[in-house]
């Protein structure tokens, strides 16, 4: 029972991450009609926003101590973070909360990145075949990745969650199921965060006229233009939002997964699967699929299940994808006519 509850939590948490990444993807994919292979790279850039912010906070004053030497014979350097020497208490507070605080930095940065990307590149590809979109965004993803690799190396860079939420929450006690049932605080925070972001994006696109215009523009941008609407500008905004959502997903994921330059590619395929299983052009579909796949993946990894079906944990996502796509022609909630040809 406990095990199932915990796996459910795992699944929801994982699902939150999938949904959040897929959400941005499906925005540009299902809404603007662009197959964006650079979406994973945006996720990665978000994570590196947190890394950079942390590095900036952690910039150190280097004092060379000539009296001591290192094992390889050079003078020893003594380092103290500037921020601590300047702000004292508040400095160490900032350092401690660097991951959540870096959201404030990441939002404008990702927005600018998204807008520049759309204005400079993607915009010219709205009318081009999907094949061209794939090639150009894949190229872009590689370039972004290599730039990050050049500056940060290939090794993962760990980011700590704030000390206050670094430990585990005693869920068992809350639910009256006795102790032994603990779950990391940060993962609960992540789940709450993804739910909030998803809800916000939803409300914006599904229930506002702005969202309706964007949906219309994706179907037929020429006609929408003829109705006096500057659809290009709105596309840019939507792309910016997608970049921000991906970036935030990346920022908040860093304490769970130490980021490295390749993490975007690792998530790319999975997020495509999530989007398509959810159904093209459907935001709720992407979210639903994200949670569904997350939960099923968790349950498939339970020992009891794995002893019955060896290796099921390796293929569960794809297996579910196949079954869903074969039983439901357009995924869970897909709209007719979107990316079917």
């Amino acid at each position: 029972m406990d095990a199932i509850l915990l796996q459910l939590l795992n699944g929801l948490d994982k699902g939150g991450a999938y949904a959040l990444i897929a959400l941005g993807l499906t925005l540009v994919f299902g809404t603007l009609g662009v197959v964006n292979f650079a979406h994973g790279a945006l996720f990665m850039l978000g994570a590196f926003c947190a890394v950079t912010f942390n590095k900036l906070l952690g910039l150190e004053k280097v004092v060379v101590d000539e009296t001591q030497t290192t094992a390889w014979g050079t003078a020893l350097e003594i380092r103290t973070p500037y921020i601590e020497s300047w702000f004292g208490e508040f400095g160490s507070f900032l350092l401690n909360y660097s991951v959540p605080v870096s959201i404030i930095v990441a939002i404008p940065v990702m927005l600018v990145i998204g807008i520049v990307m759309e204005r400079g590149l993607i915009k010219h590809f709205y009318k081009r075949p999907h094949a061209d979109q794939i090639l150009v965004t894949f190229g872009l993803a590689i370039v972004l990745q290599e730039i990050i690799k050049h500056y940060f190396g290939a090794n993962p860079i760990p980011q700590a969650a704030p000390a206050a939420v670094a430990g585990s929450a005693d869920i068992g006690a809350w639910l009256g199921l006795g102790d032994g049932l603990v779950y990391p605080w940060w993962r609960l925070v992540y789940f709450g965060f993804s739910a909030a972001v998803i809800a916000a994006v939803f409300a914006f696109l599904q229930f506002t006229t702005y969202g309706m215009v964007v949906r219309a523009g994706m179907r037929d941008s020429e006609t929408v233009g003829l109705l006096g609407i500057n659809i290009q500008k709105r596309f840019t905004v939507v792309f910016g939002i997608a970049a921000v959502v991906a970036g935030l997903a990346g920022v908040m994921y860093t304490p769970i997964l130490p980021p490295d330059y390749h993490m975007g590619m690792d998530f790319l395929v999975l997020s495509f699967v999530v989007v398509v299983v959810g159904g093209m052009g459907s935001l709720p579909g992407a979210v639903l699929a994200g949670f569904l796949l997350g939960v099923l993946q968790s349950f498939a990894s339970m020992n009891a299940v794995m002893t019955i079906f060896p290796g099921i944990n390796q293929i569960i996502i794809y297996l579910v994808a196949v079954v869903i796509l074969l039983t439901m022609p357009r995924g869970l909630l897909g709209r007719e006519g979107v990316m079917e040809d």
Partner: protein
């Protein structure tokens, strides 16, 4: 002139000449060594076959590497169980890939567009994951399936006594490593080119193009699209299996990573880079990517210093610094930049560039000439 170029024997002869003379004309590019030449031929087959599906029907498969992998495994098993002769290996490689493609295609082709792509991707990823772990007894997992001294090799062992080391793949006694391996692959490539050309120029090919253009219309035109797309899928799967078995022929090892999505993605990129739906574009794309992967990655600072040694000292180190971003460990960056440049400036891939060149040299088309240049103020 154009008529002559289009004539079948001429086209074939020209193509064969170019392929067979690769060891010579690739010398200035530093690409004239057997392994890379073999890869050029093999991946050209892979991409050409992929294009039969993607280029003609518009169905974008994201799982073609699975067939490549199946072809390789089948070929290596043929070497292990039966004989080092490559003919049975290729036969099994193509046959198994074909059967596999038939099964996956039959199911996946129930959907179109992105849904089809993801179905193929899912099947390929399942194959990859299983090959990497659970199916290790068949695939030898991460290490990859290799020849061993304990292999039964029943046909060979019935006629000859095995030597001390591992035997080499052969075509009735001719070793298939090195240059002979390349020429063998080249001949297979030429045959594949011939087949592809025939498919492109046949009613079958035209029908496939019709499916790409307007699948809906096809039905009301009295054509059953499913068997057409399935045939195209199986043919291209068999090309992939052939390429996979040739990989095993020239180098008898089959690894699971050949089936990973990145490998499927690579052939997609090759095809788009060269020019979707063109006859030789995918081949050019394959060459470009393989060239970058093998040659650009090999440049290191020392090679660069040599290269820029004609420059004065300061300039030289600057040039080396700058260039080293794009070669050696930076070769991926070159690849990414190249993808972007080509697709931005040559929509339609390398073949588009070729067409533009031709047009420039043949002095532009006829028709009405342009009025004076635009006098439009910008926005």
């Amino acid at each position: 002139m154009k008529e002559m170029l289009n004539r079948e024997p001429f086209a074939l002869a020209a193509f064969s000449l170019v392929i067979l003379l690769m060891p010579i004309w690739l010398t200035p590019f530093g690409a004239n060594y057997p392994d890379l030449l073999q890869k050029f031929a093999i991946f050209a087959i892979f991409a050409m076959g992929f294009n039969i599906l993607f280029g003609l029907t518009g169905y974008l498969s994201f799982g073609h590497a699975a067939f490549l992998g199946v072809g390789s495994y089948a070929a290596v098993w043929s070497f292990k169980l039966f004989t080092m002769n490559v003919i049975p290996a290729i036969f099994f490689g193509v046959a198994f890939a074909g059967i596999f493609a038939l099964a996956i295609g039959y199911v996946s082709l129930r959907r179109s567009g992105i849904y089809f792509s993801i179905l193929t991707l899912a099947f390929a990823q399942m194959s990859y994951n299983l090959a990497y772990s659970v199916l290790t007894p068949i695939t030898n997992g991460e290490t990859g399936l290799q020849l061993t001294l304990q292999d039964p090799r029943i046909i060979d062992n019935a006629f000859t006594t095995p030597g001390a080391g591992l035997p080499e793949t052969n075509l009735f006694g001719i070793d298939m490593s090195g240059y002979p391996g390349f020429y063998f692959c080249a001949v297979v490539l030429i045959i594949c080119f011939f087949i592809t050309r025939r498919i492109f120029n046949s009613p079958f090919g035209l029908t496939l193009r019709g499916i790409k253009s307007n699948q809906n219309r096809m039905g009301y035109t009295g054509l059953n699209t499913r068997p057409y797309t399935l045939t195209a899928f199986v043919i291209s799967g068999m090309f992939a299996g052939l390429a996979g078995s040739l990989l095993a022929v020239t180098d008898p090892l089959a690894g699971a990573e050949r089936m990973q999505w990145t490998a499927s993605g690579e052939v997609v990129l090759m095809t788009i880079l060269g020019g979707v739906g063109t006859l030789i574009g995918p081949m050019l794309g394959a060459w470009l990517i393989k060239y970058l992967e093998n040659i650009f990655s090999s440049f290191n600072e020392i090679t660069l210093e040599h290269f820029f040694s004609f420059l004065p000292e300061g300039l030289q180190s600057f040039a080396v610094e700058l260039a080293s971003l794009f070669v050696g460990e930076g070769w991926h960056l070159t690849l990414g930049v190249l993808f972007m440049l080509i697709v931005i400036f040559l929509p339609g891939g390398l073949m588009e560039g070729w067409r533009r060149l031709l047009r420039r040299f043949s002095g532009g088309g006829g028709g009405k000439s342009e009025p004076a240049a635009a006098v439009q103020p910008a926005e």
